[in-house]
């Protein structure tokens, strides 16, 4: 293992290790790191097949974090996520069986496919960072990062997350398709995955088989980075920008529900982490503009007039940012 004293080189090493497996998606990796460094949670919205699971798997292994994945379905129960007490017939005692939520990186795949009570159980664990099973309360491991995914199409048979629960996600990032150059690289890499022979049989390798199990740096490096993020300077002028932006989302004539104070906190936290990733020790308006979409869009709701005019929240947010003089 290599210990990185320099935060920038540690972050760069993580990004490089992830990019060995996942082509492109630099912005998503940056957002995941921001969420990880600020103890936030992230919701990824994107079409199937954009390497969301692979990305989280690669990131988890690069940072030496435990990783779990839950595929949300309609018949999932809260106990399937949180855990339950099981009667041990031999001893006649109840033993606690901890669910997959007890991990560092939790990938909640297609979170909107589960019933609201399951979503609620997870979102409560996300906020409180502890879980109660039977009479006992257990703290979740540190760090604890939930990466939830949502498919923007196929809305039938899904339970849309209400605004109050969406607000728990620090960031909501919309994944884009790779560029033609990146797509070409993906296909070329896929040609060279090879096969693995085992027990007299053989199977074709997948991208998951080439994810390196060697972590980058040491666990202390992550702690050091999280600590450094909290020391990033945020000026009074920057806070004025954030307050102006948040209040404009509330006063805009096309917005029914504007950004909450939690959104302002998320903007400042995110800007700090982004500043560190970009090698600065202070946040600048560029961080604000870069993160505004991911922090604010899922917290804003258009009013009837805007919907009738066929507007989207991104149009309104861009209007706010462009006229924020």
């Amino acid at each position: 293992m290599v210990s990185y004293n320099n935060h920038a080189s540690y972050i760069q090493a993580i990004r490089e290790q992830v990019s060995n497996v996942v082509v492109g998606q630099d912005e998503v990796v940056e957002r995941l790191l921001i969420a990880l460094f600020t103890s936030g949670h992230i919701l990824l919205q994107g079409m199937p097949g954009l390497a969301k699971t692979l990305l989280v798997n690669a990131l988890g292994k690069a940072i030496h974090l435990e990783f779990s994945r839950i595929q949300f379905t309609i018949d999932l129960l809260p106990s399937d996520i949180l855990g339950s007490e099981i009667l041990d017939q031999a001893s006649g005692q109840f033993t606690t069986h901890k669910g997959p939520v007890f991990t560092n990186l939790l990938l909640a795949d297609e979170i909107n496919r589960a019933a609201p009570k399951v979503q609620g159980a997870l979102l409560e664990a996300m906020q409180e960072r502890k879980v109660t099973i039977g009479d006992n309360t257990y703290r979740l491991p540190v760090p604890f990062l939930v990466i939830a995914t949502q498919n923007p199409i196929e809305q039938s048979g899904t339970f849309e997350l209400p605004e109050a629960q969406l607000d728990r996600f620090m960031l909501c990032h919309r994944l884009k398709y790779p560029t033609p150059v990146e797509e070409e690289e993906i296909l070329t890499r896929n040609l060279n995955l090879g096969i693995q022979k085992e027990g007299g049989g053989a199977v074709a390798n997948t991208e998951f088989d080439i994810v390196s199990d060697d972590p980058v740096g040491e666990p202390n490096d992550l702690i050091s980075v999280i600590d450094a993020v909290h020391k990033i300077h945020v000026s009074g002028v920057f806070i004025k920008h954030v307050v102006e932006l948040i209040s404009r989302t509330r006063d805009h004539s096309h917005i029914e529900l504007g950004a909450s104070p939690r959104a302002g906190i998320a903007l400042i936290k995110g800007a700090r982490a982004r500043a560190l990733i970009h090698g600065r020790d202070y946040a600048i308006p560029e961080d604000l503009f870069a993160l505004a979409e991911d922090v604010l869009l899922h917290r804003m709701r258009l009013n009837y007039e805007a919907l009738a005019e066929g507007m989207s929240t991104i149009d309104v947010l861009e209007d706010i940012l462009k006229t924020m003089g």
Binding site: K240, H252, S253, A283, G325
Partner: protein
């Protein structure tokens, strides 16, 4: 001899008997009357077409063979008061003349008084003489036009209220001038500094024609511009650095934005 005498008497008395049979009580005008199983000797007859002079409307509803003759069901009603012979409203199908001796007398009476044969004229309207119906229509149309205009004006006013907010009446260049003046005099607070930075971003994005770009991309391009880059770099270190220092060349940096007309 006896037989010929009998036929002679019968042919003389039969039309009278038939006429007597049809003697009925006078029927009111316009009320349909039905006459069934009436035998008319000779070939088949039909109703004459109606004319303006027709005092009776007569229809043959059914015809049945009856020996060498035909038996008829009639339906008729009167249009004028008086006695009329139904035979006058029939004709042979073979166009031969009807027998003069045949009579089917019917009488109709009018319910109106003899001198009252035309309906009363319509009553005069209750409107005062100076208001005519045409005037009323014009007044109604004018009223609805006024209401329509009020509705349109009201809707426009409402649309203006919910329309996109106009952030500033001043252009970015005009907004910049007082901020820059205050900055040069060292009288710019945190709010002023924030407003100055934001207005400079808008000013440069308009100047570089980046209004269609996303704000994040626009800012990156502005910071790469040879003229704008030094300004933003110095502003960032002044406004955002942990140990801010006012740029020594602030006056020179901001001087272009104090000009009466900025490009």
């Amino acid at each position: 001899m006896k037989r010929s005498l009998f036929i002679g008497i019968l042919s003389f008395t039969l039309p009278c008997l038939i006429a007597d049979e049809l003697k009925r009580e006078a029927a009111p005008l316009g009320i349909k009357i039905q006459l069934r199983d009436h035998v008319i000797p000779g070939p088949e007859v039909e109703a004459k077409p109606l004319s303006k002079e027709s005092a009776i409307v007569l229809r043959i509803t059914s015809v049945y063979p009856h020996g060498n003759s035909f038996r008829y069901d009639f339906e008729y009603y009167g249009l004028e008061a008086g006695s009329f012979n139904l035979i006058d409203y029939l004709q042979r199908k073979d166009n031969k003349p009807m027998t003069d001796q045949l009579k089917m007398l019917v009488t109709f009476k009018s319910s109106l008084a003899p001198e009252r044969i035309r309906p009363n004229p319509p009553d005069d309207g209750k409107l005062p003489r100076f208001i005519k119906y045409k005037h009323l229509l014009i007044l109604g149309a004018a009223f609805w036009l006024i209401v329509l205009l009020l509705l349109i004006l009201g809707a426009r006013k409402k649309l203006k209220l919910i329309g996109p907010s106009i952030p500033e009446l001043l252009s970015p260049a005009e907004s910049l001038r007082p901020l820059v003046e205050a900055a040069r005099k060292g009288k710019l607070g945190k709010s002023g500094q924030a407003k100055l930075e934001r207005t400079l971003i808008i000013f440069w994005s308009q100047r570089m024609d980046l209004t269609n770009e996303s704000p994040s991309t626009a800012l990156s391009k502005i910071k790469a511009h040879p003229e704008a880059a030094p300004l933003f770099e110095k502003l960032e270190s002044w406004f955002h650095c942990p140990n801010p220092e006012e740029p020594s060349d602030l006056d020179a940096l901001l001087k272009p934005y104090c000009e009466p007309k900025i490009d």
